[in-house]
């Protein structure tokens, strides 16, 4: 059954969209990721204009991070102070990202920039995850103890000014690194239609050295606010949020995430991470192939927006 999407101005199959929302929701529940990095490219493959795909997917992430953030809030497994600083950085990043998006769109290169961002980020993160998780599986099969954490050395981050205490995370550090991280995540959200958890979570663990138990909750807390702001900005500036498409994706995503979360408890963490890494690398390779392969038509038509 075809459904006409009023903002995307295309007719797509309702059941395919629901199934996609369900499938990506399942993966996001299984792996604990937002799924934006899968859904945004898929929407573009299906013919949704890139600007609409990005801003609508961001709207969907508001819903998925909301339910996640509430759960972590109840368990008190989030660092509100750290989250607020990340949000401040994220707000600036989101504003900058939406401006960059509009500028790049005016030059006709938006699809290229989105694809390059995806290939770059997914390639690096997928490869790192794959190495790490395969390493963990190998170590487990050899039944050896994980390598002992080395003694913490004084890093560049420790030399920065404006230090403050983060009681929940048990850290005393400068506000500059979280502000910068928040900014980066905000830009990614506006530009790529992703929550940015796949960048924020490793950065919080390895760079900010936050305790793992508060990282996911804090990341979701930040994602909720940054994606909400990005949705409003995209809607206000580019009128590209398709509320009908978002609603379909949210319904599929919420149900899929439930199933995925339940299924995820039966699978071991290392295998899960390896599986996620494989998906990330596959999406990256697909996008890289599309960039490099000879297009079927050498010419593209770009509608000049506005009056």
């Amino acid at each position: 059954m075809l459904i006409y999407l009023p903002i995307a101005e295309v007719s797509l199959n309702l059941f395919v969209l629901l199934a996609l929302g369900l499938g990506v929701g399942f993966l996001s529940g299984l792996f604990g990721v937002g799924g934006g990095f899968l859904m945004t490219p898929i929407l573009m493959f299906m013919g949704v204009p890139p600007a609409v795909a990005v801003s609508t997917q961001i709207n969907q992430i508001v819903a998925s991070s909301m339910s996640g953030a509430i759960a972590h809030f109840r368990r008190r497994s989030l660092d509100v102070k750290m989250g607020l600083i990340l949000i401040i950085g994220g707000a600036f990043g989101s504003v900058a990202g939406v401006q960059i998006f509009a500028l790049v769109q005016a030059t006709g290169q938006i699809e290229l920039v989105i694809a390059l961002c995806y290939v770059g980020f997914l390639g690096v993160i997928g490869a790192l995850m794959l190495v790490e998780s395969v390493g963990a599986i190998v170590r487990r099969s050899r039944a050896s103890a994980p390598p002992r954490p080395r003694r913490r050395k004084r890093t560049f981050i420790d030399t920065l000014p404006f230090k403050t205490r983060f009681a929940v995370s048990g850290l005393y550090m400068s506000v500059i690194p979280p502000l910068a991280l928040g900014f980066l995540v905000g830009v990614l959200a506006a530009l790529m239609g992703v929550g940015g958890g796949f960048v924020a979570v490793p950065a919080m663990i390895y760079l900010l050295r936050m305790p793992t138990n508060v990282v996911i909750g804090t990341s979701l807390f930040q994602i909720l606010f940054v994606t909400a702001l990005t949705t409003v900005l995209h809607a206000a500036q580019n009128q590209t949020v398709d509320i009908v498409l978002a609603a379909i994706l949210i319904v599929g995503g919420v149900v899929g995430a439930q199933i995925g979360a339940r299924y995820g408890q039966k699978v071991r963490a290392e295998e899960l991470r390896a599986g996620l890494a494989l998906i990330v690398v596959a999406v990256c390779l697909k996008l890289a192939w599309d960039l490099a392969a000879e297009p079927s038509d050498l010419y593209v038509l770009i509608e000049v927006r506005g009056p």
């Binding site: 009023p6 508001v62 290229l112 439930q258 490099a292 050498l298």
Partner: protein, 277 residues
Amino acid sequence: MMRAAVLTLALIAAALTAGPSHALQDAEPAAPAPEAQIAAALTEDVVEIRSNFAGAELVLYGAAVGLEPGDDIAVVVRGPVRDIRVMRRQRVLGVWVNADPVRFEEVAGYYAVASTRPLAEFATFSALRRNRIGMEHVRLSSPETERIETRFGVAGVVVSDIGAAIVDYRSAVVRNKARDALYVEAPGGVEVLEGGLFRARVVLPPATPTGIYDADVYLFREGVPIAVRRTSLEVVKAGAERVIYDIAHERPLAYGLLAVLLAVIAGWLASVVMRRN
């Protein structure tokens, strides 16, 4: 069938009582009494895009008074115009990059030609070019790349700054639009019934743009159009689709806040349901 018969009768009456159809700019010197007249109407003059829109099919009915054997009819439907930019992909460092943009102004978003026979068999090249009939004659102007010069003693020659490459750009526009069924040519798409009655199917694909469409019916004799009749139709978003589109464009901030609110409520509901289970 009954409705069609009534419609055609009404059309004949209209053709007989209506004044002369409006003159063609390039028609032959106006004769005191027109040789032929056309009346035409569409089965629908408003096409509504609702949530289940998957394209639409209309029929253009008409009557040509004074139709003689050997005359031909061409129907051209032109959709609302928009400016488009065409870019050519180039390989840079192994990656295909959009480059060399050419801006075409006021390009029809939809263009369909139906005729009784292939156009070239009954119409002269210049008549087709002047009236913009046929996919090779779609109006594609790119003022930014054009200059008007005097060449070989001929004034007013349009010269393209990018030379012969403009031809590739033009054909790329037509090819891309044809791929989405937005540009179509149907030789034999006009069916002449008895008594000067004719009909043509107009197929609007799912990607149909919204706006005013003009359907022009041309009666060709000896290579040139001797009568023309214009009728219009409008493609509009309707129902919820319309409301959503209007709010998104007229109250963008409120729309964005609403979108966020809906997502927040959905996420909150999901967490409530999750807890109960």
